[in-house]
Amino acid sequence: MMSGGVDSSVAAALLRDQGHEVVGVTLKLWGGESDSGCCSVSDVDDARRVADALGLVHHVFNFGDAFTEHVVAPYAADHGAGRTPNPCIECNRHIKFAAVDERARALGFDAVATGHHARIAVRPDGTRRIARGADAAKDQSYVLHMLDQEQLARTLLPLGGMQKDDVRALAAELGLRTAGKPDSQDVCFITKATGRGSFLDRRIPLTPGRVVDGDGREVGSVSAVELVTVGQRKGLGLAGGGAPRYAVDVDIPSATVTVGSKRDLLVTEQPVTGLRWSTGPVDGPLLVQVSAHGTPAPARLVDAGDGHATVVWADPQRRVAAGQSVVAYQGDEVVAGATAI
């Protein structure tokens, strides 16, 4: 998959040089107003011109309907339900490594490759796990945690062993036009100009809410409780001065945001759902990461069955916003993934 960024450009070049028969595919996912990120015409142009430079056939596949159904609509619905979703993970789960992979299989391809900075570790018994990329600062194993054995067997991540600087240097050496292109950061279907609020305002009812402290006293207000995330500090309409206060709870039915101190945000256990072990349950100490570039913290994962589980932190950690992915590592390898509730 060639997004039009430097990483997938170099991934395509490496695979070509390894002797694979490579076809570049750019996904058209979003026909909306966004023209930044993974769906824009200029990114498709970049992908096409890189493919031309590498002598590769390039196609654009339209997965817009699936993207709307599996990524955009749940993104809006999750906010409406007070959750903080990660649409890039849902895109990987439902589109890139599912719908696209299915098509690739139908078209006779052996593997699907992306430019993610992550590795696929093959264990002595032949099973596979997603593992951290060599460039710790760019590691994307967190957003690929959901890949199952069958998907991992058909996935190639050629950049997993590379540093980002080396990726850019190689792109420059190859004369690829994406060599100096900035990394994409934002949710691809939301424009910088209008932002998340106006995007959601057109899709779900937004409710003005009260902001209260731990004793129930009203201390501020927000224009939309659906846009507040646990852990958030700014935009809560609080008077200045005093110790910093954070959103520690968001209750959509009563349109109430509860704020508290940093200490109030700390928990010793984090319930999760949708637990999936990469290669079977792992006992003992793990490192658990709760955001794309968050710092992993020591914890154990207590599996209660049916996908329910509890992360038991070794030291108290900030509460995780519902809807966020919770990914457990053993060393550099992903051993489980789940969603905070």
Partner: protein, 374 residues
């Protein structure tokens, strides 16, 4: 491209490089060629030479027809639901609506009459002569009859425009579009080059220009004319008209063989517009396939050396669902598997054989029951 058109284009570029608007002999050399082309095209389209406006292509000609008429006369536009986007989007942008078609793509004349009766502001109706995706040919005489009856109640006048881009190589435009006030054709669809088109305008039709400048083309299209393109278009149209009967007969046979072969070889494949349910141009084979999506099918056909299409491409190059298939009311389980195979004057029997060999295999590979490819 027709060899005659290519030769004509090269001849102009080599021997008549002048600007036809100039006062010198080189200008006259270019001017003579441009006007020869204008005369020839006018004769083939059945309009006066002064009514030929050379444009940058079909899209500009369609825009000029609609925006030019509305700009000069006021009023609003109306078009069929299966127009090319070059008409559809212009009509929509001007606030105009669409008229439904039946399952064969024929314009609903009662609906047209109702729309005209409901809105006296309508001053232009645009109905394409042959649809570019499914090939259906419209009965423009019948459309013109409806317009004649409605005209007394339309104070801004009521003109008929036809986009004949997809029809021009395959039918006698002069005869079928005799009652159209404005006719669009395009170079590359008649075996000429890309980047040249014509809007043919009847005497007395007023057009507000889209482009202002030197006032070329009788103040209707400023900009130095593309003499080579115009001459090549004229040459292509002339040779197309000369060979039409034999080419149409051959291509009809090839298209019939293609449809018969594919529908016999593959289950759940059928012509989107059943044969003989409506007149159509000879070169378009449009099929609907169940349990297959167009996009992966086109991918496999491209790999196998068959250049096919389905809907239309958006700016990114991705395939978008066709508004034409949508307007026909094709059943939801058939619509996603649209496949358009276009033949041409140079299509060979071997190419038909090749298509008949690879298309069934590609569909079989993509069907859910198919074994995974090796």
């Amino acid at each position: 491209m027709r060899p005659e058109a290519l030769a004509a284009l090269v001849e102009v570029l080599e021997h008549a490089p002048g600007n036809p608007s100039g006062q010198h002999r080189w200008a006259r050399e270019a001017r003579r060629r441009l006007d020869d082309a204008r005369d020839g095209i006018a004769g083939l389209l059945g309009v006066e030479p002064g009514g030929i406006v050379f444009t940058s292509g079909g899209t500009e000609a369609d825009n000029l027809a609609i925006r030019g008429v509305l700009g000069a006369s006021g009023g609003a536009a109306l078009c069929s639901a299966i127009e090319h986007h070059a008409v559809l989007d212009v009509v929509h942008a001007s606030g105009g609506g669409t008229v439904a078609v039946d399952s064969a793509g024929r314009l609903d004349l009662d609906h047209l009459a109702d729309e005209l009766a409901a809105d006296p502001r309508i001053s232009l109706v645009s109905v394409l002569l042959a649809n570019n995706e499914i090939g259906t040919i419209q009965d423009l005489d019948a459309v013109a009859d409806v317009l004649d009856r409605a005209r007394p109640t339309h104070p801004d006048g009521l003109l008929l425009h036809t986009d004949a881009v997809a029809a021009a190589a395959w039918v006698d435009v002069a005869a079928l579009a005799e009652r159209a006030d404005l006719i669009t054709i395009s170079g590359h669809k008649v075996g000429g080059p890309k980047g040249i088109g014509v809007l043919a305008v009847r005497d007395g039709v007023e057009l507000a220009p889209l482009l202002l400048g030197g006032g070329q083309e009788r103040e209707r299209r400023s900009g130095t004319p593309d003499v080579g393109g115009a001459v090549a278009l004229g040459a292509a149209l002339a040779v197309t008209a000369r060979d039409r009967i034999t080419v149409v007969q051959r291509v009809e046979e090839q298209a019939e063989r293609l449809v018969a072969g594919l529908t016999a070889a593959v289950d759940h494949v059928r012509p989107t517009v059943p044969a003989r349910s409506a007149p159509g141009v000879a070169n378009i084979v449009h099929l609907s396939c169940r349990e297959v999506d167009s996009e992966p099918l086109l991918f496999l056909l491209d790999e196998a050396g068959v250049a096919a299409s389905a809907g239309s491409s958006c700016a990114s190059g991705a395939l978008e669902p066709s508004h034409v298939v949508d307007a026909l009311g094709v059943a939801p389980d058939w619509a996603p598997g649209a496949l358009r195979l276009s033949l041409g004057w140079c299509t060979t029997d071997d190419e038909i054989d090749h298509a008949l060999a690879v298309i069934p295999a590609a569909i079989a590979q993509l069907r859910p029951t198919a074994e995974p490819a090796a």
